[in-house]
């Protein structure tokens, strides 16, 4: 394989051709300053555009998209470049690109997503072929689940892609969001930022919300516009974590109404029992069994007697009967 060095005129390079770009993005200020001061230090890679009536510009960028943008902003007219062999077709050029990039570190999910789009779209490769040959080149295990998870990620809005790249958005949630309507995912992302959800909560809330949408036959923006939901989210006197807890309760009530009603009844019985903090009474998780567990602490005989009296009083007031009827 022979790469040819050349000084390419900026006007000869089709900066709008993003076919080979693995991760869309803009040059940052640091790169802009550096290119303005020093020019392009490391040559970018180009492919000669072939065709009967070779249209201008002659070259397609293969690497160095951000440097190219910085060069244009700095007003450079010529930049150093390496030209890929002329006899390479797009597939060979793409393979070279993926090998180069994959040798440095495994592809990120977003890079993989863009690569999958190029390979399965313009390059017409099958899913099996991409998994078998190209995933290892990307430093990824040839796992069909990864393929399904990564493939739609490039459809996410730039804001969500940035959140994913910055590890602020859980991979699985991003994958699920990618197959939702744009309005849904933007509404969710807005909610996630309002409540400052961590990645585990994002996953949990996304699943609950998706289920509620299907149960209620309503979209997420429609759900969030409901007065009860809106007023909670707009409430000024709650911290994000208080809001998150209340919002979770709201979601549970909608997703599991029968269970939530039982839980609410249990909590109201407990409130009316006015138990001291040293005495705890718990049902089985999710009320799956019929037992209750009581535990209490004491340090004197008088405290011990007081705890027992509290329990006896609960029975005398019929609260124990009501509790056992609950399960």
């Amino acid at each position: 394989m022979k790469l040819t060095y050349l000084e390419a005129g900026l006007g000869e390079i089709d900066a709008d051709d993003r076919f080979f770009q693995l991760l869309p993005g803009m040059a940052d200020a640091l790169l802009m300053r550096s290119v303005a001061r020093l020019g392009i230090v490391e040559p970018i890679h180009l492919q000669l555009r072939v065709g009967e009536e070779s249209p201008a510009p002659r070259y397609r960028p293969v690497t160095g998209f951000r440097r190219l943008q910085a060069a244009a902003a700095a007003g450079l007219t010529r930049i150093p470049a390496m030209l890929l062999p002329r006899n390479w077709d797009d597939l060979q050029a793409y393979r070279w690109l993926v090998e180069q990039r994959g040798a440095l570190r495994p592809f990120s999910p977003l890079e993989a997503s863009h690569a999958i789009a190029a390979l399965s779209g313009p390059l017409s490769l099958s899913r099996e072929e991409i998994l078998r040959t190209w995933f290892p080149l990307m430093g990824l295990a040839p796992n069909p689940k990864l393929f399904s998870l990564y493939a739609p990620l490039r459809l996410l809005e730039p804001e969500l892609q940035s959140a994913l790249a910055a590890d602020e958005l859980a991979m699985e949630t991003a994958g699920a969001m990618a197959s939702a309507e744009p309005a849904e995912r933007l509404a969710f992302w807005q909610l996630s930022r309002t409540l400052r959800l961590g990645k585990n909560r994002q996953r949990e809330f996304w699943l609950l919300l998706s289920d509620i949408e299907r149960i209620d036959k309503a979209s997420l923006p429609q759900l969030l516009a409901q007065p009860e939901w809106r007023s909670l989210l707009e409430e000024q006197n709650l911290t994000p974590s208080q809001k998150t807890d209340r919002f979770k309760n709201l979601l549970m009530t909608r997703r599991y109404p029968a269970y939530s009603a039982t839980l609410a009844r249990f909590e109201s019985l407990l409130r009316s029992a006015k138990l001291p903090p040293e005495l705890h009474l718990r049902p089985t998780p999710w009320f799956a069994g019929e037992e209750y567990t009581v535990d209490f602490s004491f340090s004197t005989p008088a405290e011990f007697t007081a705890r027992l009296e509290t329990l006896q009083e609960m029975q005398a007031r019929g609260l124990i009967d009501q509790l056992t009827e609950l399960t």
Partner: protein, 361 residues
């Protein structure tokens, strides 16, 4: 009458392990599937990864055929035995547990039935006082491949001669032709998994219809077989009461209580890892939208009062046709039994006795 939506499964390709190549049960399958491509292989290791099309592996069962039903902790189990003669199914029900459980590379038929009968002889002969209810419907559907295996005939013939065991052929399918006219001495229960019409339509789209299953059940009844029904999994959906009640009525219009070995009820339940699999494989399904919560054995089940309500109503509807028909719950606690039925067998041994007695054990 509407044409059946069900298409009998016919494989494109048969991978045949060397160990069963000349075995009579393999030969029988090959004779019935003359159009399928045949690929001899030394063993499963030689299988290509994920070949396209409809494939079947004809294999040798290397472990025991007979296994105790795994049951589940803190629940009453009927102490059933599974006979693993096949693993995999073509019917593709959305809730099927096999989606997450099977660790075989493709649908597999274990053709060394000679070994199976030796094993059965050994086990049944060495415990003459123990009664065995045995079924082939755990890792597959008992009849779904029977149109080309005809293994039902071997099983019916074998169990006809056993006093301490009964075989249950549990199915959603209607391939009864290979055993229906055989003598059976009531040592075979032919049972059908049934569900509300809306669930059959949405969650079991590749199966024979309910009417077809009941037609087959009526034929089996006419041939003198014990008949069983399994309402499992019962799924809460809009109109579930009418849906399930109607199935109960349809059953009793065709089948006499004295011929019903048992009716089991089980509500939708699955281990947590299956939730994601069902969502991925069947995104249109709504079954995972129920109030499914983790139980003591960590499986997702409907919130307990909802299960009790479903079972209690079913019990009432079934018992409205007389007290004779035994009804039991699959994998439920003593508490749920008591609250739904007003009685409980108290333990797995109690439930086993209850069912054994019905079929002469």
């Amino acid at each position: 009458m509407n044409a059946s939506r069900y298409q009998p499964f016919l494989p494109d390709r048969l991978y045949i392990e060397e160990a069963v190549q000349n075995n009579p049960w393999t030969t029988r399958i090959l004779a019935r599937l003359s159009k399928a491509e045949r690929i001899p292989i030394p063993d499963q290791q030689a299988l290509p990864p994920a070949p396209a099309g409809k494939n079947i592996l004809l294999s040798r069962q290397r472990g025991p055929f007979l296994r105790y039903c795994p049951g589940t902790s803190r629940h009453i189990c009927c102490l059933y035995h599974n006979l693993d003669i096949a693993a995999g199914c073509d019917l593709g029900c959305s809730y099927c547990i096999l989606q997450g459980y099977l660790n075989v590379p493709m649908t597999t038929l274990y053709c060394n039935l000679d070994d199976m009968f030796i094993e059965l002889d050994q086990v049944l002969d060495s415990h003459p006082d123990h009664f065995y209810r045995i079924g082939t419907g755990e890792l597959s559907d008992s009849l779904t491949f029977d149109h080309f295996t005809a293994w039902s005939s071997d099983l019916v013939n074998y169990f006809r001669q056993r006093r301490n065991a009964i075989i249950e052929l549990k199915s959603k399918n209607t391939h009864i032709e290979h055993f229906i006219s055989l003598p059976h001495d009531r040592r075979t229960v032919v049972s059908w998994s049934v569900n509300a019409a809306a669930i059959v339509a949405s969650e079991e789209p590749h199966t024979p219809s309910l009417a077809e299953r009941l037609e087959a059940a009526a034929e089996a009844q006419a041939a003198g077989f014990w008949i069983g029904f399994h309402f499992d999994p019962m799924i809460r959906h809009e109109g579930w009461e009418e849906g399930y009640h109607e199935v109960v009525e349809q059953i009793f219009r065709r089948i006499e209580p004295r011929n019903i070995a048992w009716i089991s009820l089980g509500a939708l339940r699955y281990p947590p890892f299956l939730d994601e699999i069902i969502r991925d494989n069947h995104p249109e399904s709504r079954i995972f939208l129920g109030e499914l919560l983790p139980g003591a054995d960590h499986k997702f089940r409907y919130f307990k009062p909802q299960r009790i309500e479903m079972f209690a109503r079913m019990y009432r509807w079934i018992k409205a046709h007389g007290q004779e028909t035994p009804v039991y719950l699959c994998m439920e606690s003593d508490e749920v039994w008591r609250k739904a039925f007003g009685w409980s067998p108290g333990s797995s041994a109690g439930l086993k006795r209850f069912l054994d007695e019905r079929v002469g054990g």
